[in-house]
C-alpha cells in the first residue's frame, strides 16, 4: 500500500520508518499517474521490507524544495530519516523493486 501523506505528516510517518520510499508526484504529471499503480504493486511485493508513501508536491512545496525535487515523479528512499537514494521518472515494476532491494 502507498500511503498519501502531507507535509505535516512527513515527520511522523516517513521520517520514523527504517526504510521509506517516498513518491514525490503532481496531479498534472502524466508519468506520475502511470507510476502510481506500478508503485502500488511494488509496495505489495515488498511489504514488510519498506514503507511506501506519496507526497503531492503542490500540497507540500516546502518539502519538495527541501529535498530538491526538480523533476516528477521522483522516488526518494530514506533510511532512518535520511535520503539514501533517488530514482527519477517512470520505471517498470521490476526495476523499482530491484532499486529498493539494492538499498535495503
Amino acid at each position: 500500500m502507498v500511503k498519501k501523506i502531507n507535509g505535516s505528516q512527513f515527520e511522523n510517518e516517513a521520517m520514523k520508518s527504517a526504510v521509506a520510499v517516498v513518491d514525490f508526484s503532481a496531479t498534472w504529471c502524466g508519468p506520475c499517474r502511470m507510476l502510481a499503480p506500478v508503485l502500488e504493486s511494488v509496495s505489495e511485493t515488498l511489504a514488510g521490507k519498506a514503507d511506501f508513501y506519496n507526497v503531492d508536491i503542490d500540497e507540500a512545496p516546502a518539502l519538495a524544495d527541501k529535498y530538491s525535487v526538480n523533476s516528477v515523479p521522483c522516488l526518494i528512499l530514506f533510511k532512518d530519516g535520511k535520503p539514501a537514494s533517488r530514482s527519477i521518472g517512470f520505471k517498470p515494476a521490476q526495476m523499482i523493486s530491484a532499486w529498493v532491494e539494492s538499498n535495503l
Binding site: A26, C29, G30, M34, V38, N70, S71, V72, K91, P92
Partner: protein, 285 residues
C-alpha cells in the same frame, strides 16, 4: 480507443514490415508514424540491394511500402509517441496528453542522429528537461532557456512562454523563427550545459545563459527515454535474435537495434519482431 494487440512505432521499412506481418497473423495493429513514411528513406537516392526491387529510389520504395500498407487496410496513426510505459500486463503509450494502450509494442523508430550536448543527460532531472508539456508547471513564473533542434519545437517554446516568466529560445538550426515577441531568440550555437552553485546555464559559442530550467527539445527521442527501463547500448536498443528486448512484450527492429543501417535488414527484423510479438501474445492470452 480500444487496447490493440500490437503497437508499432515508426513508418520506415522496419515498422511497415512488422505491421504487415502482425496483421497477416490476425492481430489488431496500431501503426504510429508519419503518413508520408520515413523521411530518411524518401531522401535516399538509389537502393540496389533490396531483393526483388533492383535499382529502386528511396521515394519509390516508400511509395511501395505505403501502397502495401493501404492494400492490407493498415492505417497510419499520425501521433508522436513521447513515452511507452510498461504497466501490469499491458503498455501505455503517451501521445501528448493522450494515452493509448497496447498488449505488446514494437519499436521501429530509427536511430537518433543528433548527439546530446555535454552535460545534457547528466543534468536530466536536475534542471534539464526533454519534455515541455511534462515539466512546464515546475517552472511557473520562472525563467527558462529552450534549445530547439527543429522549427517544430517553436510551438513548445511558445507554450512555455505562457507559463514561465521568460523564455530564451536558442535555435540549433538556421531557419527563421516564428515566435511570440515575448520570447527572446538567441542566435548562437549551444555548446554545453552546466550547473554550479548559482544554478543551471547554457554555454554557447558567444556567451552563457542562466535559467531556472533548460529544455532541450528534439524531434527524435532517445530509446532509453522513449521506453523507460529498456536496456540500451548508446542510441541502440539491445535485442536478441528474436528481436526481444529486456522488457517482456517489447520488441525492437531496424536501425534502432544497430548496424548495418540497411533497408532490407530493417524489413527482415520487422518480420521477426512481429512474429515474436505474436508468439508473446498467444502465450499470454
Amino acid at each position: 480507443m480500444e487496447r490493440c494487440d500490437v503497437a508499432v512505432i515508426g513508418t520506415g521499412p522496419a515498422g511497415a514490415s512488422a505491421a504487415i506481418t502482425a496483421k497477416l497473423r490476425g492481430k489488431i495493429v496500431t501503426l504510429f508514424g508519419s503518413a508520408s513514411m520515413s523521411e530518411k528513406m524518401t531522401r535516399a537516392h538509389l537502393i540496389q540491394n533490396y531483393p526483388g526491387l533492383p535499382s529502386v529510389s528511396g521515394a519509390e520504395l516508400a511509395r511501395a511500402l505505403a501502397e502495401h500498407l493501404k492494400s492490407m487496410d493498415i492505417p497510419i496513426t499520425e501521433k508522436k509517441v513521447n513515452a511507452v510505459y510498461a504497466m501490469d500486463g499491458y503498455f501505455a503509450l503517451q501521445c501528448g496528453e493522450e494515452f493509448i494502450e497496447a498488449r505488446s509494442v514494437i519499436i521501429a523508430a530509427g536511430v537518433m542522429r543528433e548527439k546530446p550536448l555535454p552535460g545534457e543527460n547528466e543534468l536530466l532531472g536536475s534542471g534539464v528537461s526533454h519534455c515541455a508539456t511534462c515539466d512546464a508547471s515546475l517552472y511557473r513564473g520562472k525563467n527558462v532557456a529552450v534549445i530547439g533542434y527543429d522549427p517544430g519545437e517553436e510551438a513548445e517554446a511558445a507554450f512555455l512562454s505562457e507559463v514561465c516568466a521568460h523564455v530564451t529560445y536558442i535555435p540549433a538550426y538556421k531557419d527563421d523563427t516564428r515566435l511570440p515577441e515575448r520570447v527572446g531568440v538567441v542566435r548562437e550555437k549551444p555548446e554545453e550545459i552546466g550547473k554550479d552553485e548559482d544554478g543551471v546555464f547554457v554555454k554557447t559559442d558567444k556567451g552563457t545563459y542562466r535559467a531556472s530550467g533548460i529544455f532541450v527539445l528534439r524531434e527524435s527521442v532517445a530509446p532509453s527515454q522513449l521506453v523507460p527501463g529498456i536496456e540500451t547500448a548508446g542510441n541502440h536498443i539491445n535485442v536478441n535474435r528474436k528481436m526481444e528486448t529486456n522488457i517482456p512484450g517489447v520488441f525492437a527492429c531496424g536501425d534502432v537495434t544497430g548496424t548495418p543501417y540497411q533497408y532490407i535488414k530493417a524489413a527482415g527484423e520487422g518480420n521477426v519482431a512481429a512474429l515474436s510479438a505474436v508468439a508473446y501474445l498467444d502465450k499470454n492470452a
